[in-house]
């Protein structure tokens, strides 16, 4: 599982919209405790989707504050 974190909820919600529109699995979740971050909402993705998702988010102007690979 991969978790993307964001500076603001605005970016988290936009990220969900962008990846879902592309048919990816993105789901918004509370930021896992082991990740120290700024905004309380993170986007959970499958490992295989991460590269595509990051490209899409970059194209949409969404700033990602962290990419966390979790067991």
């Amino acid at each position: 599982m991969v978790v993307l974190t964001f500076y603001s909820t605005y970016f988290a919600l936009t990220a969900e919209k962008v990846v879902r529109a592309a048919g990816l699995s993105g789901k918004l979740i509370p930021v896992p405790r082991q990740i120290s971050t700024s905004c309380g909402t993170a986007l959970r993705l499958e490992e295989a989707e991460v590269d595509t998702a990051l490209q899409l988010l970059h194209g949409a102007g969404v700033e990602v504050s962290g990419v966390h690979h979790l067991p």
């Binding site: 500076y7 603001s8 909820t9 605005y10 988290a12 919600l13 936009t14 919209k17 918004l28 979740i29 509370p30 930021v31 700024s38 905004c39 309380g40 909402t41 993170a42 102007g61 700033e63």
Partner: protein, 383 residues
């Protein structure tokens, strides 16, 4: 018969879908946006995202992150004016401004922080862009212009002034309180750097909603600071938008209504709404011209204006006219100075003011005709 002609104060009624959206939000969602990750909190956040997305589409803004949500146009204008200006700055504004621009500027000037020049309109409320250009000084940081007059509906030459601002390197702020939703606004084509709007007038939502479009690159100091749900470990306001400017709980159910209002507007088309309102305004102007002793202010009746008409009955007090219209005929208007004293000075109606009739998308020909008949009757009674 009840006729509501005070839509410039706040529009009423709202589209049925707006009532439904607010009711649904209140009953089924309710949660605070941007603070938690359970589904209804996310759904609440999605309402705000949809509001930003639709507002960006409506104003032809480059992306939803250029939209900042506030509580009304006054809140948004204070955010822009107090967030942008620095000590020693000069501002060019016009006599057609609402007190929501004039009072923040006057307050800053009285405290010795800025100074400003008021470009006078003519007696039809028209601003000459050349006079705006001539008022720019070396230290002019901002030009602030009301798009559509809340007193007489006169439309300011926003695109021309925007070009002047761009050429001279001055930030251009447009107050779209009366125009957002019923008049085509393209912030890029009009060279608008900051647009202030309200949700409860022509956007057909409820009170407690407003905001700014900020051209990417425009940096405002936060005017309101506090909780954002982000960077909560820090004692200082986050630097990034929209959190930088959006401290405190949003009016989420209000935005649910504005979302429904903008969808309703976009389905019909802003140009179509504008054409309908202009046709009704022309019907009203033509009828008023037929009634003796009524003087109408503002642009010539052939010149397109916002759906706002101000008049007086010679020999009668405006406040009494408004009272009699409500009491005898059920017609709701606004009398006096409309929070725009300098506009009335330009029009020659200060300090007594005018009686204002302001229309909306829901005003009907029948209501206009009833109002005209009632006014003819009232003139014969009062004079």
């Amino acid at each position: 018969m009840k006729v509501y002609l005070d839509n410039s104060a706040t529009s009423w009624p709202k589209p049925e879908v707006v009532y439904q959206a607010v009711d649904r939000f209140a009953r089924e969602i309710g949660a605070n946006p941007g603070r938690s990750s359970y589904e209804s909190a996310l759904e609440s956040g999605r309402v705000l995202l949809e509001a930003r997305t639709l507002l960006a589409e409506l104003f032809h803004a480059p992306n939803p992150s250029s939209i900042v949500l506030a509580f009304n146009a006054t809140d948004a204008l204070n955010m822009a004016i107090k967030g942008l200006l620095e000590p020693g700055d000069h501002v060019v504004t016009t006599s057609m401004e609402h007190n929501s621009v004039l009072r923040p500027l006057t307050g800053l000037a009285r405290r010795g922080i800025i100074d400003f020049t008021i470009v006078p309109a003519d007696n039809q409320g028209r601003i000459d862009p050349e006079q705006v250009a001539a008022a720019i000084k070396d230290n002019t940081r901002l030009i602030a212009v009301n798009h559509v007059s809340n007193v007489v509906g006169t439309i300011a030459p926003v695109k021309e002034i925007g070009q002047i601002a761009r050429d001279r390197g001055v930030t251009f702020l447009v107050d779209a309180a009366q125009s957002a939703g019923n008049t085509v606004i393209d912030v890029q084509e009009m060279n608008i750097d900051i647009l202030a709007f309200t949700g409860h007038k022509a956007l057909l939502g409820f009170q407690g909603t407003g905001g700014l479009y900020l051209r990417p690159g425009i940096v405002l100091k936060p005017w309101r600071e506090g909780g954002t749900g982000s960077l909560s470990e820090l004692d200082t306001q986050p630097e990034f938008l929209p959190d930088r400017l959006e401290a405190g709980t949003h009016n989420a159910h209000g935005w649910a209504g504005v979302v429904a209002g903008i969808k309703y507007i976009l389905a019909i088309g802003v140009e179509e709404i504008n054409a309908q309102e202009w046709a009704l305004t022309q019907r009203l102007l033509a009828g008023l011209a037929e009634i003796p002793k009524i003087q109408v202010y503002g642009p010539d009746s052939s010149v397109r204006r916002g759906p706002i008409v101000s008049f007086n009955i010679s020999g009668a007090d405006g406040g009494q006219v408004g009272y009699e219209l409500a009491e005898r005929y059920g017609i709701m208007t606004r009398t006096g100075l409309h929070c725009a004293p300098h506009a009335h000075k330009s029009l020659g109606t200060f300090p007594e003011g005018t009686v204002r009739l302001s229309l909306s998308h829901f005003t009907t020909e029948e209501e206009i005709d009833y109002t005209l008949k009632s006014l003819a009757d009232l003139v014969s009674i009062l004079t």
